[in-house]
């Protein structure tokens, strides 16, 4: 009831009908579905209900536990219901987030992430040794590891992969690796990376696809078609792919830690609709389902046969304001002739009109968390300054609009993705910002069209997010820096640019922490992006399965899972 009241408060009367219609449809589904668990009440945000089957309440991270070998039986095929089809299974060319779920089982990286979002060695044996000038990284490598084709993993293989990431046409890794000038291999178990300028985000990049090592033999044989039969070092190896439908990997007996691998194979089945993914989880046709809807998660949390893993995203969801992207991203900035583009006070007013707490509680069942900056509180580079949050203050918003000489209601058009969650968010925002003196006009568009409009600068305001990376640089520089490749706001502030460049090149952690705090303070004055909330990665896991884990990078770790005895 509380939820409904909260929703009504923010959704205008004209829009309520569609929400009520949606609610009615959901109600019909719930009744006709006749599944008793589907009628469980929604847990309030932040509550800690001991009756929820030992599961965490909303708003708490649940990463999952590693499997206890004594409780797991060997063998079996795990089916993972994936919400989207991965793109090319080539670590150099891949851009889709979902490919990381598959890569995790078959392409190990130099480094990985731990549950605390800190970088830990994987195919390396220790964190890199960085020279005092920050221009050289020495990485010690694991010995005895083999690629799935039997080839030996060594420094040459790492060099081949890094060179491929840097030079292959269409590489998605090149920009992540920074200003690398040379890769040296003094001996088979050591790699030295030379840089022209210090580049602090490099270690974190090597904990993602840029750190995956490809079999040199497979690269030589397949070239740019590596994705047709990818070969790396990993607990599993590629078996088959049915385009847009499924991917299968099978256990690799040559893996250096094969004794820890319990499953025979893993099938990733693409099921785009979230309610059908949930149904597959309940019916047992899939044992893991990613990206659960925040509408389905509370119900699944009450289900005795399913656990819901939760990890807060390192990214954010926000509103991007078009300030200087009049002619498209990549062209010289040209300021738009609108009050919201010209005057930071108008943007501040919009930020003050948004009640982030109410948004996450009413729209996302309290599963997402409030965000006011691009720096995740989970990041080791976060600070109090980076987490400051302006209060919800519609009165002050109106005052700022008046100071800016803007008559209210001030009409602003917002483009947003046309999926149900985005539309519900947009409608709630529409009701919310009205109190601050804004009239939000919602323009829903399909995702590819949204990207197109965004890059052409054909928008006033747009709602979209970023999935997030471990290093804050990857979550800020490209979006805010004057020359950032994805600066679709067209924002340019030399002071912010300097802070970001200094943070990139700083080798001292404390210095980087301070610099990112300063960046956030500047961003909250200029508001090119109004950060709203951080999504929670919600993963459903059958209780028949042990050892599934999800860390803050959102990647579901299935490699060492097994079916319970």
């Amino acid at each position: 009831m509380t939820r409904r009241l909260a929703l009504n408060r923010f959704i205008p009367r004209t829009r309520r009908r569609s929400v009520v219609g949606y609610g009615a449809a959901v109600a019909v589904l719930a009744v006709t579905g006749m599944i008793s668990t589907a009628c469980s009440p929604v847990e309030p945000a932040g509550s800690d209900d001991p009756t929820s089957g030992g599961q965490s309440s909303a708003g708490q991270d649940v990463f999952g536990e590693p499997a206890d070998a004594a409780q797991v039986k060997p063998g079996g095929t795990l089916t993972v219901a994936l919400s989207a089809d991965p793109d090319k299974l080539d670590p150099t060319l891949s851009r889709s987030l979902y490919s990381r779920y598959v890569f995790h089982t078959m392409c190990e990286k130099l480094y990985d992430l731990g549950p605390d979002a800190k970088v830990v060695p994987q195919l390396a044996t220790a964190l890199p040794t960085i020279s005092s000038d920050g221009l050289s990284l020495t990485i010690p490598l694991k010995q005895g590891a083999k690629f799935a084709d039997g080839g030996a993993f060594d420094a040459n293989a790492v060099k081949t992969s890094l060179n491929r990431h840097l030079t292959l046409a269409g590489s998605a890794r090149k920009s992540e690796l920074g200003p690398i000038t040379a890769i040296e291999t003094p001996d088979p178990k050591t790699v030295v990376i030379k840089l022209s300028k210090p580049f602090a985000p490099l270690t974190a990049a090597l904990a993602d696809r840029a750190g995956m090592v490809l079999s040199p033999a497979a690269v030589a044989k397949l070239g740019a078609n590596f994705s047709s039969a990818p070969v790396c070092v990993g607990p599993f190896k590629f078996a088959s792919r049915v385009a847009q439908n499924s991917i299968k990997v099978v256990k690799d007996p040559q893996y250096y830690d094969a004794a820890k691998v319990h499953l025979d194979s893993i099938e990733y089945r693409i099921i785009t609709d979230s309610s059908i993914r949930s149904a597959n989880l309940k019916s047992g046709d899939a044992q893991v389902a990613d990206s659960l809807s925040s509408q389905d998660a509370p119900t699944l949390q009450k289900d005795d046969s399913v656990s819901v893993l939760q990890s807060q995203s390192l990214g954010y969801q926000g509103l991007t304001i078009n300030i200087g992207n009049a002619n498209g991203v990549g062209t010289p900035h040209k300021q738009l002739d609108t009050p919201i583009a010209k005057d930071p006070k108008v943007r501040q007013a919009l930020a003050l009109s948004i009640d982030r707490e109410a948004l996450v509680k009413s729209i996302f069942n309290g599963l997402n968390t409030v965000a006011c900056s691009p720096v995740s509180p989970k990041s080791e580079f976060s600070s109090d300054a980076a987490q400051v949050c302006p209060p919800h203050d519609p009165a002050k918003a109106k005052q700022l609009l008046s100071e800016a000489g803007v008559s209210t209601p001030y009409k602003v058009e917002m483009i947003t993705s046309n999926n149900p969650d985005s539309l519900r968010l947009a409608q709630a925002l529409q009701g919310m910002v009205k109190e601050g003196g804004f009239e939000l006009v919602i323009k829903p568009v399909e995702y590819a069209a949204l990207l197109d409009q965004q890059d052409r600068g054909d928008f006033e305001l747009l709602q979209l997010g970023w999935s997030g990376r471990v290093d804050p640089d990857a979550n800020i520089y490209n979006f805010i820096g004057s020359t950032g490749s994805q600066n679709v706001s067209g924002y340019s502030n030399p002071e912010v640019d300097k802070l970001l460049t200094d943070a990139r090149q700083a080798t001292d952690k404390a210095e980087r922490v301070k610099l990112y705090g300063d960046v956030v303070s500047k961003l909250q004055q200029d508001d090119p992006i109004i950060y709203m909330y951080r999504q929670r990665n919600l993963t459903g896991v059958s209780k028949k399965l042990l050892g599934i884990q999800v860390y803050p990078d959102g990647v579901i770790r299935t490699a060492f899972a097994g079916f319970a005895k």
Partner: protein, 317 residues
């Protein structure tokens, strides 16, 4: 007959060329392109440019069209921009799934539709007809998506009778294959069954009041023979026409059904390709669909002459 056939083939070729042009231009008129859709949130202008160059998207439409047509003429449908898989192999693996699903759906729909139609006609004005009519109305008005979702909730989740998703090829395990396909085929067939039922009912009613039926009854033929041999056979031509005409609806229904049940079929391939702006896949899929459509229409025309010899006689005259 030969001239008729040649004429039909010529018309079909023109239709095919037009369909190719319309789809080629239409898909490019959509906002966004494969490079953008592929890059998603992780875009930078340099790699977008590299992707566009690699797939010739930076060339003029005319050059792109010529390349597509000249390659297609040699049987080369290109590679998926998203996954790098050859489009021909994608279609080769997806098409049998949709054909099997559609054939099953037609079979199920025909059995239910013709059966219910005959009952409704013979038992006119009785509860059996009302029940058949109500079922037909339900079949026509309930969307596949909702019906599929309900089927999964009731029959897969609650009762565990059928798998909620997945596919096993027929030659790997025929039983598992049918087990996976029955539910989607029933869902896909519901709309068609309703249409067939309505058509069978009305043409059966026409046939039952015709003179030759009265003659057959007067000759003392048993009612089963009158209905089965005379009335039903003469009504079937309409049913065959309906199945042919509804094939388009069946394919569009397969799009939804395949997505719900995660079947690796043609419909799912098409929709995903459109969302991902995977031009080579969309173009090839439309080319194959248009060809199939034209061939099926030809076959339906030929079937007429098998069922009703008068058509053959007229055609040969």
């Amino acid at each position: 007959m030969r001239r008729y056939l040649l004429n039909r083939v010529w018309q079909s070729a023109v239709t095919l060329v037009l369909a190719t042009i319309v789809v080629f231009a239409g898909v490019r008129a959509l906002p966004g392109d494969p490079a953008l859709a592929l890059a998603g949130e992780d875009r930078d202008p340099e790699s977008l440019r590299a992707i566009r160059e690699q797939y010739g998207l930076d060339q003029s439409w005319l050059v792109q069209f010529w390349q597509f047509v000249s390659h297609a003429a040699r049987g080369d449908l290109g590679q998926s921009i998203r996954t790098g898989t050859p489009v021909r192999s994608m279609i080769a693996s997806a098409l049998p799934v949709t054909i099997e699903l559609s054939v099953l759906a037609i079979l199920i729909a025909s059995v239910i539709g013709v059966g219910a139609g005959v009952v409704a006609a013979v038992r006119r004005g009785r509860p059996a007809e009302w029940a058949a009519n109500a079922l037909a109305l339900l079949g026509l008005s309930v969307p596949h998506f909702w019906l599929g979702l309900m089927a999964i909730l009731y029959l897969s989740v609650a009762l565990g009778l059928f798998p909620a998703s997945g596919f096993v090829p027929f030659f790997t395990d025929p039983v598992a294959n049918l087990h996976h396909l029955v539910l989607p085929a029933v869902i896909l067939g519901t709309g068609l069954a309703a249409v067939i039922m309505r058509q069978t009912r009305s043409s059966m009613l026409d046939a039952l009041s015709a003179d030759y039926i009265r003659t057959a009854e007067a000759k003392g033929l048993p009612p089963k023979a009158v209905v089965g041999k005379h009335a039903l056979r003469n009504s079937l031509i309409v049913v065959v026409t309906v199945v042919g005409l509804q094939l388009g609806a069946l394919i569009s229904g397969a799009v939804v059904t395949e997505r719900i049940f995660a079947l690796p079929g043609f419909g799912k391939l098409t929709v995903d390709a459109v969302f991902q702006r995977d031009y080579p896949v969309i173009q090839a899929v439309v080319l194959v669909t248009a060809t199939a459509y034209i061939v099926i229409n030809l076959l339906v025309d030929l079937l007429y002459s098998v069922i009703d010899p008068r058509i053959r006689v007229r055609g040969e005259a």
